[in-house]
Symmetry: C2
Subunit: 213 residues, 2 copies
């Protein structure tokens, strides 16, 4: 497993710097400093290599999530753990993972097995995002599920856009405190509007039903 | 020019369906139904082809923007022209352009000439977005430039995230009316918070100075 991990870490760096086009089994060998053919031995096809990278990214994400929920669980804190994590995603060493994830995501539109692995990470992050949001809101536990869904969908879409801008070197915010302030501002607007009716369609979205509140 | 346009339109479809990896001069020839070698004649290198595609996308965007500001200019309307445009970007035939643009954007992180062409479209859209936003706000013309900047940066980041989700087939909203309601909700939250201090860093962002208010 250690060798596979090492190869995947080399592949992540290649994806981040050169994009999907810059990834080949031989380049991973050279990047990892192993004998030519090693990557082909562990990952027979390009799709297998991409799936390996997606699983390695998920493993790194999970370790990151774990460190967040460790201790006394998710607590209100300033800056929030969510914002710390997002801002870190825009800075190295996390930024390479963010860029590699975008490359994989583009590939995944044409590779269902790859898409399924990435979806697991997305779902885990979506759940964490929702849990932290609810805890950040005053009396968040009393919010209607539909309102939490709107809140979660909209702020997560904002974070998607933010991470995409980070991946392109476009940093419109630089501190977790700023992100907290923005999320709080967005949430206050959404909470007010959400009372008048649903803002987003969960039916149309690829949201896992088993992540119910 | 007609032939170049035709080849670029075929390239856009290839990018949308097969991604950057699925694009080659020969495939464009076949897709466009022209003699092998035609695309190589018009676009000597891969980078030249990608720049041609970016320019064609910009041309299509411009035609779209033009139809929006035609007549009596940008007027408040319901649903807003901005939201109509964004929702259209998530449906064919516009969705292919959205997908092709994301493929180009990933390539552009490694091709400065390509990035410069894409940036022009981004700037045009950013300016339109800001103009429409200001007109949508009650007494928008009286807003502080810094507040408009926050409003524009944050809602545009949300739209970036939304278009990315559309490109991946993830439709969390389906009508321009819904998007208007969300943008209004976000704006009300941002306006309230923005009075207490700046929410975003324009200095760190790649915002063109000549698009001042």
């Amino acid at each position: 497993m250690e060798r596979r991990r090492e190869l995947c870490d080399a592949a992540i760096q290649l994806l981040a710097v050169d994009g999907a086009k810059g990834l080949s089994h031989l380049k991973v060998d050279r990047k990892a400093g192993v004998a030519d053919g090693t990557t082909s031995f562990y990952f027979r096809t390009r799709s297998a290599l991409l799936r390996g990278v997606a699983e390695r990214l998920a493993e790194l994400d999970l370790a990151n999530l774990q460190s967040i929920v460790d201790g006394a669980g998710i607590k209100p804190s300033s800056p929030s753990q969510l914002s710390v994590m997002v801002i870190q995603s825009g800075m190295e060493p996390q930024l390479s993972l963010t860029k590699a994830r975008y490359e994989l995501t583009m590939q995944a539109t044409r590779d269902p097995a790859l898409a399924a692995i990435l979806q697991q990470s997305t779902d885990a992050f979506t759940k964490l995002h929702r849990d932290i949001l609810v805890r950040l809101m005053p009396r968040g536990d009393e919010l209607e599920p539909a309102v939490v869904e709107d809140l979660s969908n909209i702020t997560l879409t904002f974070i998607n856009g933010l991470l995409l801008r980070f991946a392109h070197g476009d940093r419109i915010i630089t501190s977790p405190e700023q992100l907290d302030a923005i999320l709080a501002a967005l949430a206050s607007g959404i909470l007010k509007a959400s009372k008048a009716g649903r803002l987003t369609d969960t039916s149309a979205a690829r949201v896992l039903p088993d992540h119910s509140l």
